[in-house]
């Protein structure tokens, strides 16, 4: 099992992501944004941070990087992709995931531990977030632009197709996200994005190891693919 963790100018969570990948089993290597190839990679993480300074819109420029072109091909071939925070924004900008992430409703940067509820997804060939379920996953979020938004008809569609992967626990929506959505997946279920940071919840020292469940679910999809 070999993980590839993308690194853009302005990424800042790629080291924690590497560590989380290694803890969940397998090797992990950084993929610089100018690299085009993902040969030998079984699963990809698009990490958090501020790729290209978040200029224009968060994720807008990263989307056009050679590494992201490779990720789009990798995803089209069924390879599992996990986008975290800025990585989620990049995947939405690249139209690999539906919707967009807007400025938090209350204009405040959010930095807090939250409970996530996993939502059931497609039956096969996907990142099994339900295997990663416990009553709730305790995972920190830290972002200024995390308000998930899509037109109502798109929200209805993705809910009907089981593309909502995570919701904030009742009363914990930190940013005004539509329908408490914290994470979504693509229709095939192999691309998963979420605003909270599972890579920061992998060691008892920091209070929760629930984030590892998500990395393990992605790894399982990587072995299966």
């Amino acid at each position: 099992m070999i993980w590839g963790v993308l690194q853009f100018p302005g990424s800042c969570d790629e080291r924690d992501a590497l560590h989380a990948c290694e803890l969940s089993g397998g090797e992990a290597r950084l993929i610089w944004h100018e690299e085009r190839g993902l040969e030998g990679i079984d699963a990809v993480v698009v990490p958090g941070g501020f790729s290209y300074g978040d200029y224009l819109r968060a994720g807008a420029i990263a989307r056009f990087s050679p590494a992201m072109e490779a990720v789009a091909e990798f995803a089209a071939g069924g390879g599992p992709v996990l986008g975290i925070c800025n990585g989620f924004q990049v995947l939405c900008e690249a139209a690999l995931l539906p919707g967009a992430l807007l400025l938090n409703e209350r204009m405040r940067f959010v930095c807090r531990q939250l409970d996530l509820i996993a939502v059931d997804g497609p039956e096969t060939g996907h990142i099994d977030t339900i295997a990663a379920r416990r009553p709730a996953l305790s995972i920190p979020a830290k972002h200024g632009e995390g308000r998930y938004w899509a037109p109502d008809e798109v929200l209805d569609e993705i809910e009907a197709r089981g593309q909502v992967a995570y919701r904030y626990a009742p009363g914990q929506n930190p940013n005004g996200s539509a329908r408490d959505i914290a994470g979504v997946r693509n229709e095939a279920g192999n691309v998963l994005g979420l605003m909270p940071h599972p890579e920061h919840a992998v060691d008892p020292l920091t209070g929760s190891t629930d984030g590892l469940r998500i990395f393990e679910a992605v790894a399982a999809a990587g072995v299966a693919a």
Partner: protein, 74 residues
């Protein structure tokens, strides 16, 4: 070269917290009667082929899902 300005703003109906924050600050400064403040971006550029600007806006400058844009040639 054609000089142009691209104005980008949040789509109608999408909550714009920046606009709201500005709107709420105005009465304290003595500006009454200002409503529906929306904050967007403005991009100035020079283009060899202004016919391609719409495509440029759709692909990069704006996210058509959440933003409207307007191209003003100068």
């Amino acid at each position: 070269m054609t000089r142009a300005r691209v104005l980008i703003r949040p789509k109608e109906g999408i909550l714009d917290p920046q606009g709201k924050a500005v709107e709420r600050a105005l009465p304290a400064l003595g500006f009454e009667g200002i409503e529906h403040v929306r904050v967007g971006r403005m991009v100035e550029l020079e283009a060899e082929d202004p016919a391609r600007l719409a495509e440029l806006c759709e692909k990069l400058l704006a996210n058509p899902l959440i933003e409207d844009y307007e191209i003003v040639t100068l």
